[in-house]
Structures are given as C-alpha cells and as structure tokens.
C-alpha cells in the first residue's frame, strides 16, 4: 500500500486517493492528424521506472497534485 504525500495534508494512506494517470499530457496544438489525436486520447507513457502521475485526495482536501513514483519499487520522490 502506498503512502502518498498530499501537498496540503501530508502523507496519507493510498485508500484516501484516486489515481489520475500520467501527468502533464499536453492537449494537441493546432490541426491534428487522426493518429496524433488517437495518441492524445488513448496512449500514455507506461515506463518501468520513474513516472510523473496525478493523484486526487478524494477523501481529504480534494486537491489534485503530481507525484513522481517508481513503478517497480513504488518509491515516491
């Protein structure tokens, strides 16, 4: 189980949070091809290693924030 550092409430149990997937996915700028649009809608990074991702403190302060977590060791930095 993860101990997730909410920037407002401090470290809290994973059960208080909802997961939001990869952080910082830019909305495609200007004209997009079908392939670019598909990549934006469906494809996210899926690294075995460090990953910037969004978490939502659903049962707390209800803040969305970004953490960097290692997807193999679960370390958060």
């Amino acid at each position: 189980m993860l101990l997730i550092p909410c920037p407002f409430c401090g470290p809290r149990d994973e059960t208080e949070f909802r997961y939001g997937g990869q952080a910082g996915v830019p909305y495609p700028a200007g004209e997009t091809t079908d392939a670019e649009w598909a990549a934006y809608v469906f494809t996210r990074d899926n690294p075995k290693g460090w990953f910037h991702e969004r978490w939502f403190h659903a049962h707390g302060c209800r803040t969305w924030f970004t953490v960097e977590r290692h997807t193999l060791t679960q370390e958060i930095r």
Binding site: M1, N46, T71
Partner: protein
C-alpha cells in the same frame, strides 16, 4: 482411467540460443508457447525460438485464476474467445496431457436491475453468436450453487446470473508444460533466462533481437510479453495504448469440495472457484496505479474479501494462505491488441489485461497465423492496433468482469 505416474524428469530441452531463427517469439508464457506450438502444427514453421527472461510460464501464466469462458458481448470478442473455448475442449487429447480442463459452469452474478438487463442482453447476444448461455433467476442460482447467499440481506443481493455451462477452469501449469513439450518436440528452442534488451531495425524492418545471451537474427519477431509489452515496444521505438497494472489474486487453505462452479461478480467484485486440489482461488480488480512491482495494495484484498463474504457467508472462517499479483497490460477498450506494428515483421499480441489465460489456445492460433502470413488472421483483424485511430473499438469493459 488411472494412469501410472509417468511424469518424465524433463518435458523440454534447455537449449542456448542459435545465431538465427525464422521467427523469434518474445515471452515464454502461455501465449508465447501456444503461438510456437501452432506455428509448427498449423504452418510447419519450426525454425523458431521462444525467449523467456525468467523461466517458462513463470509470469502471469503462474499467477492467474485459470477461469475459462467465452461469454463476451460483442461479435468480435465472442468469435475469438469461442474459438479458444472450442480448442480447449479438445486440447488435453490433442496434447496428450491432462490439462484438468473442467467445464463446471461460470456464473456471472447480477446485483441490480441494470445488471439483470445487461445479463439478459448478454445471454441473447451470446446465443446469437453460437455461445451457450442461460439466464438464471435467484432461486435457480441457489440451486446451481447452494453456498451462495441469495437472500435480501446482503448490501448487493443476488438478483440472478448468467450461466455458461461450457465455461470452467483448467490447470494452468499443465497447460504450459503440455504446450512446451509439444513445441519442443517440433524442434522449437525454448530459451529461458534470456532477456530481450533491444531490437535491430533496418529500413523500418526488424532484423534481429539483442538479448542478455547475445544477438539473435530473426526473420520475424513476435511479442507475447503481457505486462512488459510497453517496455519492449519502447525498445523498438513505438508506443502502444497500454497501461500495466498489478492484478491480485489469492488462495485459501485447502478445503473439502464446497464450490463446484465458477462464480464471478462484477458489481461486488470478486471471482472465485475451487481448485482441483481444494484451495479457493479468488481474484480481485486491478490496483488503480501503473506498476511492474508484482505486488498490490492490501486494501484491494480487503474489498475483495468483503465481497466474497457477502456472497458466501460460509467462507467466513476460511484462512488465506497466500496472495500475489501479476502485471497485466490493460488497453483502453479492455480488448487485446493482435497484429502488425509500425515496424515491419514485428508483431504484437498484448493488451489481454485481466483475461488472457482463457484465450491461450485461441490467441496462439490466430497469432501464429498472423505471423506466418504477415497479415491478420480474420478473427484477429478487428483487434488490430489501427482501431484506436479509426475508432472501431471493441469495448468489453463489462465482459472482462474485472474492474479496470
């Protein structure tokens, strides 16, 4: 029929890699082994290697809950999984190995009026696709599976269920061993302890794989690495719409026979069967976050156990023996991705998410055909990578019966 124990010491050779093969399959799990077997059996291709970074069938093949069924909603899925189920029905004989394939029936429970309508719809859809399916009301569920609580007491009462009588379970290890033995007998090299570390791509076409045991030239390369497929795709220079998550399961201590069917519940979220040996085998939904850690959160197990006890109060004193997680690759529409990739002669079979085991022979069959001919097998065609661009998704989140 009882047979004397004639289990040989070794069911397959343990060769090192040769410098070159016609086809290199990356991943020595159920799908990789089935693909190798059908490449030889159906297409006469035996200059084939299966590369496994660990040991054969030691990944998700050793970690799944062994449920087999084909009661999927959409035509494309029903055709694919039913193809697999028909193969399962003859596979023990064909491989001359007792897979302990037991068609004990799979119940998918309904807990709300919405579930009931969805279940009835699925029964009709299945029948139109030639898949056996029945609707049971709550009393019939109780008759079919006496240990379920169908009273009004639970928070999510059982209002009925779909039943696929041809569904059931098989012994996962036996499946892997039987396929490995046959592939080996065809002369296919099953190479363990051999991790793929890169691909050589010339003019958009794959020509070799680099491995922890040296370079291997390959006419064609076929990925069958489940949760790690994204990692391999990245090495080959393209992205796939996949996210890897832990999927947890657990077994209880050994019990006398108490549950002789498979029970799945999407709403309260547990699926359970009793293994031949006697353990209750239970699965949960995926953990929410991306992970390759093969371990999940305890709270997921807690929720799963709470759901199980709502349905089966009789299990309240049963002890959990062990828990574990496999890493599953989940696609946006909960359907697999089978076919070509942006790299020529590099093929992908991935995205089976929480339900790859049931498809093992069917997936191997269509993937082998796709690799052999360099174009999608008709049953695999709708599952091509292109569907995420065309929008022709096969949205099976419901039929996956596991929360994504």
């Amino acid at each position: 029929m009882t047979r004397p124990s004639t289990h040989p010491d070794f069911l397959w050779r343990d060769p090192g890699p040769r410098p070159s093969y016609d086809v290199v399959i990356v991943g020595g799990g159920g799908h990789g082994l089935a693909t190798a077997y059908y490449l030889a059996r159906n297409h006469g291709l035996t200059n084939v290697a299966v590369l496994e970074k660990g040991w054969l069938a030691g990944g998700n093949m050793a970690r799944n809950t062994t449920i087999i069924r084909s009661n999927y909603l959409w035509d494309e899925s029903a055709a694919l999984y039913e193809h697999a189920l028909k193969l399962w029905e003859g596979l023990s004989e064909e491989l001359d190995y007792d897979l302990q394939f037991s068609q004990r029936g799979v119940l998918n429970l309904a807990h709300s009026l919405g579930d009931v309508r969805e279940g009835r719809r699925r029964v009709e859809a299945n029948r139109l696709n030639g898949v056996d399916a029945e609707w049971l009301d709550a009393a019939e569920v109780k008759k079919f599976c006496p240990v379920i609580d169908v009273s009004d007491r639970p928070r999510h009462p059982v209002m009925g269920a779909t039943l696929q009588r041809r569904g059931g379970i098989a012994k996962h290890d036996h499946v892997a061993w039987a396929l490995a033995r046959r592939a080996d007998a065809y002369g296919i090299d099953l190479i363990q302890g051999c991790e793929v570390t890169g691909f050589e791509i010339t003019g958009g076409r794959v020509t070799a794989v680099r491995t922890s045991r040296g370079r291997i030239a390959a006419g064609k390369v076929a990925l069958a690495a489940a949760g790690h497929t994204s990692v391999l795709a990245e090495l080959a220079g393209f992205r796939l719409p996949l996210q890897s998550h832990p999927l947890q399961a657990l077994v209880s201590e050994l019990l006398e026979p108490v549950l002789d069917c498979v029970v799945m519940s999407n709403a309260v979220h547990v699926y359970v069967s009793q293994a031949h040996k006697g353990e209750l085998v239970m699965g949960a939904g995926i953990d929410a976050y991306n992970s390759y850690g093969q371990r999940g959160g305890v709270h997921v197990i807690e929720a799963q156990m709470a759901a199980a006890l709502e349905l089966f109060p009789i299990f309240s004193r049963v002890r959990v023996l062990r828990t574990w997680a496999g890493i599953v690759d989940v696609s946006p529409d909960a359907s697999p991705i089978i076919g070509r990739t942006p790299v020529e002669n590099l093929f992908v079979n991935a995205g089976w998410g929480t339900g790859g085991f049931k498809a093992t022979p069917g997936a191997g069959w269509v993937y082998a055909d796709t690799i052999a001919h360099g174009r999608p097998h008709p049953l695999a065609e709708p599952f091509a990578l292109e569907r995420f661009t065309t929008g022709a998704l096969i949205d099976e989140h419901g039929a996956a019966a596991v929360a994504h």
